[in-house]
């Protein structure tokens, strides 16, 4: 499988990049890591007139911690983030999700922003961003705007990004004193999730849940948050986790496709919640 013919340009500044996007609009495709766009090109699911390679644009590969968030630029690689101990200590959900993203070899090139831009309905990073109530920074020639994750993901492979905009960075909020959980079921590790669950939880000194937040993906056309406000002010016991699991299993809408039936996905979500939350006081990635 070879890609269709495309013109190629590699700008070296953001101004050049934004000029190209203004000029070519939807005829252009941005490539950073290319770990999803590459297969799509090879399978001819897309055929852009021009491929805009941002790998030579200076300054896009920064990971910064400021304003209670981790900020990752457009060229920050999944592998760099996964191996960054400071990121892991500040926002443990990132490495927890990243270990399910592709493989060691694809994370070398693959970027966080690329995964967010692609908005695959089974992808881990969009789920993590939604759970954290993070945001996407979209830059165009005339203006820059920040869009929350809940507004950004509009459906399968569909986002709020306009053709003349590029994802300059993503903001991953840091929430203190929080436990994080992430797990998924896939046919083969590193492949698409049949179902994935992520959860953040705060407990008071007596082990009572003060603010639970739960998200699922792989079950619908986009990552979903499930309203679990009813599970607050109770101790995080095994009974609590079992009840939460039954509730989410009964609430979350799931789809049938060639990978799994809707019933299997419901069952998988329930299983993942019970598995993630077993012995909850002792588990979960934690922020100080």
């Amino acid at each position: 499988m070879k890609p269709p013919a495309f013109a190629y340009v590699a700008p070296s500044t953001v101004d050049e990049l934004l000029g190209l996007l203004a000029q070519y609009g939807a005829d252009a495709r941005i490539v950073a890591g290319g770990q999803t766009l590459g297969p799509m090109l090879n399978m001819r699911m897309v055929s852009p007139a021009v491929l805009v390679d941002i790998n030579n644009v200076a300054g896009l590969d920064k990971i910064e911690k400021r304003d209670a968030a981790i900020h990752t630029g457009a060229l920050v690689r999944q592998r760099t983030t996964f191996e960054d101990r400071l990121v892991g200590a500040s926002q443990p959900l990132l490495p927890m999700a990243l270990r399910f993203v592709g493989h060691f070899q694809t994370r070398t090139r693959g970027t966080l922003c690329g995964s967010i831009a692609h908005a695959d309905p089974t992808a881990e990073l969009p789920l993590a961003l939604l759970l954290l109530d993070g945001a996407v920074r979209l830059q165009a020639k005339r203006k820059t705007r920040i869009v929350s994750a809940s507004d950004f993901f509009e459906g399968a492979l569909t986002t709020a990004r306009q053709p003349e905009e590029f994802i300059a960075g993503v903001q991953w909020p840091i929430v203190p004193e929080t436990r994080y959980f992430f797990d998924e079921i896939s046919v083969r590790h590193g492949h698409i999730a049949v179902a994935a669950c992520a959860m953040m939880l705060q407990l008071d000194d007596d082990g009572v849940v003060t603010s639970p937040r739960l998200g699922v993906t792989g079950v619908s056309d986009r990552p979903l948050l499930v309203d679990v406000a009813g599970f607050v002010r109770r101790p995080a016991t095994a009974e609590w986790a079992a009840e939460l699991s039954r509730y989410v299993q009964g609430t979350v809408p799931t789809i049938d496709d060639l990978h799994a039936s809707a019933a299997y996905r419901r069952s998988a979500v329930g299983f993942l919640i019970r598995k993630m939350l077993a012995d909850v006081p002792y588990r979960g990635g934690r922020t100080p």
Partner: protein
Amino acid sequence: MKITGSHEEITVSFILNGQTVSGRCTPRTHLADFLRHQLHATGTHVGCEHGICGACTILVDGKACRSCLLYAIQVEGRSLTTVEGLSAAPDLSPLQKAFKEHFALQCGFCTPGILMSATDFLAANPAPTEAEVRDMLGGHLCRCTGYTSIVAAILAAAAPAAPSDGSEPPTDDHSQAAIV
């Protein structure tokens, strides 16, 4: 800022296994095809051409990458290592030697890619656990060996401190990480 036309032939130059090389291609030429067809460096194999099988894995600036998901035009001036660069014939690198001693290949089609991944992996993690090796191998398909002998070879080539008896307990609750 030059825009290369979709059917325009250009010259791409980079360092391959320590030597400066160059060849002609259009923007759509895969790096893997460029290596094989233009440079006749046929050690790099091409399998699925969508990033799953891992046969085309090479090192770009020392890091394992799929050469079917890169275009030759993207690696101008970079430093690439392929299986031909692991050792000078007839010598074998310690990793290649371990593959031979542990019967870690049968048809050998997947082997160059796995050797390149393992080279980068062991450089970053010199004493991995068996679970970590299997996690890394998740990025490769081998239809002959059943992976056991490959895992044994990589562990043997790793620092002596690494456990190799398969008794390493799972590192966490993500037990599916061990399924390759």
